[in-house]
Symmetry: C2
Subunit: 129 residues, 2 copies
């Protein structure tokens, strides 16, 4: 979260679907890596931001029919731009977007990536108590 009403999203090209998606920052958990550490690492690698305030939201299972994949969803607040830690190859174009605009894009079917929709809905619920 950039602030209470604004999300940091990524504009990322996805090869399997051959187009760009608006997505929450995310990445693969490495062997023996705690999920929050993955979240911190990927946020910094992909966006250059550090967050001082992390809270775990939930575990998501995106494809229970054929995979044991899980996504650990965190909310990151109190962001500070740190810059990129090393190689540039993971750096992704970011977009600062008000939650209300993201909700409109979900209803307009412009944001369709599952974990991102979930994160937007979740952030909206927390904002509204």
């Amino acid at each position: 979260m950039i602030d209470r009403d604004t999300l940091l999203l990524e504009h990322q090209f996805r090869y399997p679907l051959r187009r760009h998606f608006l997505e929450l920052p995310a990445g693969k958990i490495e062997v023996d890596e705690p999920a929050e550490q993955t979240a911190r690492r990927e946020l910094l690698e992909e966006t250059g931001f550090l967050a001082r305030d992390w809270s775990f939201l939930t575990t998501l299972h995106p494809c229970v029919g054929y995979s044991d994949e899980r996504i650990e969803l965190f909310m990151a607040r109190d962001l500070a731009f740190e810059g990129h830690p090393g190689e540039d190859d993971e750096f992704i174009e970011t977009v600062s977007m008000p939650i209300d605009e993201a909700l409109e894009k979900i209803l307009a079917r412009e944001i369709t990536e599952a974990k991102t929709i979930l994160g937007v809905f979740w952030a909206d619920r927390m904002r509204n108590g």
Copy 2:
């Protein structure tokens, strides 16, 4: 939707994770099958219900990093129990659950299947205008 405030969920054993999940009815789109027809077919096969009122909500992409899989999400209302059309092997235990209870189970991390959380949030939003 059983009614405006109540969802029809399934209690389904998922082999990849070796446990039961609470889920919205869903199924695989067959070759050349329109998505709404898949939704109607799977609802009947898995639950024995017909719905008179169908509305398309959105397309979801659950795993953009490695797959072009898409989920077409529909809201089915005005349900009538028709019974099972033939073989019993696809019949799944169903649960009638108030949206508020489903929201509690999401926040308690008891419902973790991604499309189901999305459907619950979406149904809640539509109920509240």
